[in-house]
Symmetry: C2
Amino acid sequence: METLAEKVLFDTVFGRAETSPRNFACAPKAAPGFGLECSDCEIKGLSVCESLEPDEFELLERIGRTLSFPAKATLFEQGREAPFVSNITSGALRLSKLLPDGRRQVVGFALPGDFLGLAMQPTQLFTADALTPVKICQFSRVGFSDLLDEKPRLTRAMMNMAAHELTLAQDQMVVLGRRTAEEKIASFLIGMRNRYARIHGASVHVPLPMTRLDIGDYLGLTVETVSRMITRMAREKLIVIVPDGVRLLDVPRLEQMAEM
Amino acid sequence: METLAEKVLFDTVFGRAETSPRNFACAPKAAPGFGLECSDCEIKGLSVCESLEPDEFELLERIGRTLSFPAKATLFEQGREAPFVSNITSGALRLSKLLPDGRRQVVGFALPGDFLGLAMQPTQLFTADALTPVKICQFSRVGFSDLLDEKPRLTRAMMNMAAHELTLAQDQMVVLGRRTAEEKIASFLIGMRNRYARIHGASVHVPLPMTRLDIGDYLGLTVETVSRMITRMAREKLIVIVPDGVRLLDVPRLEQMAEM
DNA sequence: CGTCCACTTGACAATCGTCAATAGCAGTGG
DNA sequence: CCACTGCTATTGACGATTGTCAAGTGGACG
């Protein structure tokens, strides 16, 4: 339901994707309460689950369940117990760390296919808030951990995913440490576009479900600087600001600014 | 032993390893000096190897070799082929990413027990330079990858290590994005102390094998700012500058400044 | 003894943050 | 329907932390 609404929003606001979307072929069933329906899963091809044989999904289905959260819901908080790990199937999350004095660092935005709890730690290392209505596929942490011991290919997939996240984190370090405000925004926009491309297919339309404050806390900037830079890029015809996102006008130029 | 060091230096300086990758998994070498001696390994308890049964070390010994590098040697360069992965057994490395215009971000300093090549990518994602003489335990990437498919516990250990690195990277994002110059230095010093504590045991003496420039490129600061902050902290009796490092005088205060 | 490099220190500049005011929009309730 | 509230975004003026430029010290090494 949320997914459908999202897709409608996406299509309404941004028009059709440049290349055909790959993952919305079949309509998902709203799963009431418990139980998984992996065979219907819309992000099968993106998640760690793809490393399992079809019959192995049964094991997952037994220890997992699907859950929905409304926008603005907090899925879990930094420092609390972490009894579950989960796989995002639709929606967007903000993952953030809070400093004692209130300063905040957004360590990432989680999208469909992303896994929460890679660290398999007993306590949460950051807070996760829903930016849109969100659906996840949730597993008991210890149950999932036990499953890893039985399914080497799943472990391998998790290792690859962790390694991939690590390289993204290192790229983000470069952005945070060595780039100007304008370059940070450019690299953020290009990065979001690339991430949506994996899910919806390539498009110059980039939904931004997070606020300017969230973007600032992700890039190590203030709201005001984010706003000024986005305004400036719009004035310079690099982008157009649309409701709930932006449209990229000069991708080559933006990519050059974001260049690694 | 001296012969080996010279040969390695030769290979390093003249780039033999990177231009003609040899497959050590298949090479039936029994040359004295080559091969592993895992039973004598000084970082056994710290590395991924600890996840293996004693008899499984034999497999590692067959596909790996030990190598030494002098200080300032470049182990590998960003963008080049990555035929090997390795485990650091002694020394310290600087891992850095270079931007087209010359700006540099140090993404980490690698110490004994750290693993290079977690991402298992065919090309290097960053450059690794020796800050001190370095010893590593090196494996062919594909050979090691194959071993992972046979040894689930090793895969699990690698996953945990990648996940741990990821949490460290996220902590570093907070430092880069949301901390002042002084806090960055404090958190860097406390972080280095904690890492050395795992290896050598706790101590207020913190060796700093890297230059101020390296520290700046790690923390998103300039050399001058790093120098000023360290000088100031020494003036305020938080630390004492000693040859090749610092001595921490007021650890509680520093920890408070670095607090997460 | 001279060169090189790391480090330090000072003066000045600029990017970005802080503070403040305002507009726009959605939701709420009289 | 409209006032009211609260949040987000934008814009301007000003300020400070940090970067830039420059000069100089000291240690390592040939």
